[in-house]
């Protein structure tokens, strides 16, 4: 028995609204990640919002719907890649620059402040953290939704 039979998701209105909204939520999350060094927000907040978009898709369209857009294998790879980006940024500070871990080795000229491409390594770290947080929160959500189904399976097994 596949899970799609058991969890078809919500109604047509909810599915349509979720399909229209997912792009806007993703755009807002990416905006918050990329502008983390200028406006409030950052990698963690933006990653949580990106994960919210996929959680909404999973809730509206059933268990497999969110996984179609963001497969579990891709999520676990992105989880590791995000952490690796962050680590490599820190390690490059020791290797390339003066020798401090997380040295901000890309200098920002004073006329480039308040621009998108400024603040040295901070936007790169933000992107890594955003990838990491988005994929790990989505993975946790998927796994916990699966836990609910397995508990259901256990109950059915007990009935049999």
């Amino acid at each position: 028995m596949s899970t799609t039979d058991r969890d078809p998701g919500m109604g047509m209105i909810v599915k349509t609204v979720a399909r229209w909204l997912k792009g806007f939520i993703l755009l807002y999350g990416i905006y918050i990640v990329l502008n983390g060094h200028i406006t409030p927000g950052g990698g963690f907040a933006g990653g949580v919002i990106i994960a919210c978009a996929f959680v909404m898709l999973t809730l509206a369209g059933g268990d497999q719907h969110g996984l179609q857009f963001f497969p579990q294998r891709a999520a676990s790879s992105l989880d590791s890649i995000g952490l690796l980006i962050f680590l490599v940024v820190g390690w490059l500070g020791t290797w390339w620059a003066s020798g401090m871990f997380f040295e901000n080795f890309i200098a920002t000229p004073s006329d480039a402040r308040f621009e998108l491409f400024s603040a040295g390594t901070i936007p790169i770290s933000n992107i890594g953290l955003g990838l990491k947080v988005a994929s790990s929160l989505f993975l946790v959500f998927t796994v916990l939704a699966a836990l609910r189904l397995t508990a259901h399976d256990d109950k059915e097994a007990e009935k049999r």
Binding site: I32, G36, H37, I38, T39, P40, G41, G42, G43, F44, A45, V48, I49, A51, C52, V55, L59, S76, D79, S80, G82, L83, F86, L87, G90, F101, F102, N104, A107, T108, S110, A112, R113, F114, S118, A119, G120, T121, I122, S125, N126, L129, K132, V133, S136, L137, L139, V140, F141, V143, L144, A145, A146, L147, R148, L149, T150
Partner: protein, 187 residues
């Protein structure tokens, strides 16, 4: 300003008490959500929008997970008839914590007074003064999180990574289904 904050904190305390006392587990989860969103509003009033955004997002996700985990499940009330000694000990413990808490909070600086700003060499004063010149990031919160204190953030990310690893290992579905099948087949 302080009155609004006091009212919000009072509301969140009421919601927390409701979350503890209500017998229905779904009502309890929703009251917990009310506490979290009131906390987000309090952060906005304290002019901390960075934390407010994170609080709202995490609150939404954790609330969805909790509601999905608890919905359609009977609450198992774990009410045990309290012994007199345990009741007295609990009340005494709460009293001791209250006395020491009131003493401790009366020693704190008054609300809205930045004590560390008075020291020229204090880290917070240095970050505020030199943060933009050193890092080039106008958002001082991100500058502290990802440049001055990036080591802390690395630890935080590793903790999240380990938590996801543990959750995936314990709760994965595919392996469990396969073992069930292999156990079923010989029969």
């Amino acid at each position: 300003m302080v009155e609004i904050l006091g009212a919000l904190i009072l509301l969140s305390v009421v919601a927390a008490i409701v979350a503890v006392l209500t017998p229905n587990i779904l009502h309890s989860v929703i009251s917990l959500g009310a506490v979290g969103f009131l906390l987000a509003i309090i952060f906005i009033f304290l002019s901390a929008p960075d934390i407010a955004i994170v609080q709202i997002g995490v609150e939404v996700i954790s609330l969805v997970i909790l509601v999905r985990a608890t919905i359609g499940r009977q609450a198992q009330s774990s009410e045990t008839p309290g012994h007199l000694v345990t009741k007295v000990a609990g009340v005494a413990l709460v009293g001791v914590i209250a006395v020491f808490g009131i003493r401790m909070f009366s020693e704190f600086p008054k609300f809205g007074i930045a004590v560390m700003d008075r020291f020229v060499d204090a880290p917070s004063a240095t970050y505020l003064r030199d943060g933009l010149a050193d890092t080039g990031a106008p958002n001082i919160v991100t500058a502290v999180l990802l440049d001055f204190r990036a080591y802390d953030t690395l630890g935080e990310a590793v903790v999240l990574f380990c938590a996801v690893l543990g959750a995936l290992t314990v709760l994965r579905r595919k392996a469990r289904v396969e073992t069930e099948k292999s156990e079923d087949e010989p029969i």
